[in-house]
């Protein structure tokens, strides 16, 4: 449950770029969140509605793009998604794996009105 501090960071970054772009209003916030970044969309939205009041970002719509956590087997090169619990390679059963992606956690873009 660290969504509050995370949402504050989102607001800070969005406001900074909005001012730099001489925006009158921010309409959309596009976030990219990997499966391994344990962040709950509803919780971010809840805090967002509260903390964005009276800022340039008030009423901006939050968009979440979820990226799966992709693992690769180092024995047979099979790529598979991490769903709930960590699993060995579904193809050959090997435990020699590497995490390819799923750590993403960034603000991709904002929609503004000038």
């Amino acid at each position: 449950m660290h969504e509050l501090s995370v949402t504050e960071s989102v607001l800070e970054i969005a406001c900074k770029h909005a001012h730099n772009s001489k925006a009158k209003k921010v309409t959309d916030i596009h976030l990219v969140i990997g499966r391994l970044s344990s962040i709950i969309d509803d919780s971010v939205q809840f805090y967002w509605d509260t903390i964005s009041k009276d800022t340039i970002c008030e009423q901006a719509k939050l968009h979440f793009r979820r990226e799966p956590a992709v693992l690769v087997c180092l024995e047979c090169q099979t790529e598979y998604n991490l769903e709930d619990e960590l699993m060995p390679c579904p193809n050959c059963g090997s435990a020699k794996i590497r995490v390819l992606s799923g750590d993403e956690f960034f603000l991709e873009s904002i929609g503004i009105e000038r």
Binding site: M1, H2, L4, S5, V6, S9, V10, E12, I13, A14, H17, S21, A23, K24, T27, D28, L31, L36, S37, S38, L82, E85, L86, P88, A95, K96, I97, V99, F105, F106, L107, E108, S109, I110, G111, I112, E113, R114
Partner: protein, 221 residues
């Protein structure tokens, strides 16, 4: 009025990471080695710190401790102070993890130049502390065997970022259905070759091996 989409691509935790970098620099300049100690509640973080302090006290190694807690309780820091080392209690006000700003403030309250080792005891939690860099040199996790052998499978992220794993309370193994091979297989999947010490703070088993690892890091600072 015109509408426009502006590309940003900025890491959301960037501000935290920047302050963590500053903390690291400050700790380095003071010639201190620092660890971020993480675990679930009750894994034995404070007992482990006390066992470490007790052994190093006679070796003229000065240790400072930053204690993170979600509520204003000083039980942990009182124990550390009673052992003769400076401790700062950080109350996170309910927040689930320490962040780099809290460490920045806590560093102001410690005699950093007089220290050899700084131990940060993070909030008891296996999820959130993994996401927030503090500026410490190494991430250490204590997994205690009563928690069960499935934790690497359920909390993969914290295991991925570790430099050292401490398996605590191994004196209880005869009484538990803890499958050490299954546990270690999960750890190996996430963090191949991870430096691991099996210890008991109760019997002192394995503590000396951990101290040997730690002394080497401290002496290089």
């Amino acid at each position: 009025m015109s509408e426009k989409r502006i590309k940003i691509v900025e890491n959301i935790l960037n501000a935290n990471d920047q302050i963590a970098l500053k903390n690291r620099q400050r700790i380095n300049e003071a010639g201190v080695y620092s660890i971020n100690l993480m675990a679930s509640p009750g894994a034995g973080k404070t007992s482990f710190i006390l066992a470490t302090i007790k052994s190093l006290l006679n070796e003229n190694i000065q240790i400072g401790v930053i204690e993170g807690d979600t509520a204003p309780v000083t039980i942990d820091s009182d124990k550390i102070s009673a052992a003769g080392m400076p401790a700062v209690q950080v109350n996170t006000g309910g927040q689930c993890h320490l962040d780099s700003v809290m460490i920045e403030n806590a560093l102001d309250q410690l005699p950093l130049d007089d220290l050899d080792l700084l131990v940060v005891e993070n909030v008891g939690n296996l999820i959130c502390p993994a996401a927030f860099k503090l500026g410490t040199h190494s991430n250490v996790l204590i997994a205690s065997v009563p928690e069960g052998d499935d934790k690497p499978y359920k909390y993969p992220n914290i295991y991925r970022g570790l430099d050292v794993l401490i398996i605590n309370k191994v004196d209880l193994l005869p009484y538990l259905d803890f499958d050490m091979d299954y546990f270690r297989k999960g750890v190996e999947m996430l963090n191949p070759g991870l430096q691991t010490f099996a210890v008991s703070c109760k019997t002192n088993q394995g503590i000396e091996d951990w101290l040997t690892w730690l002394r080497l890091r401290i002496s290089k600072k």
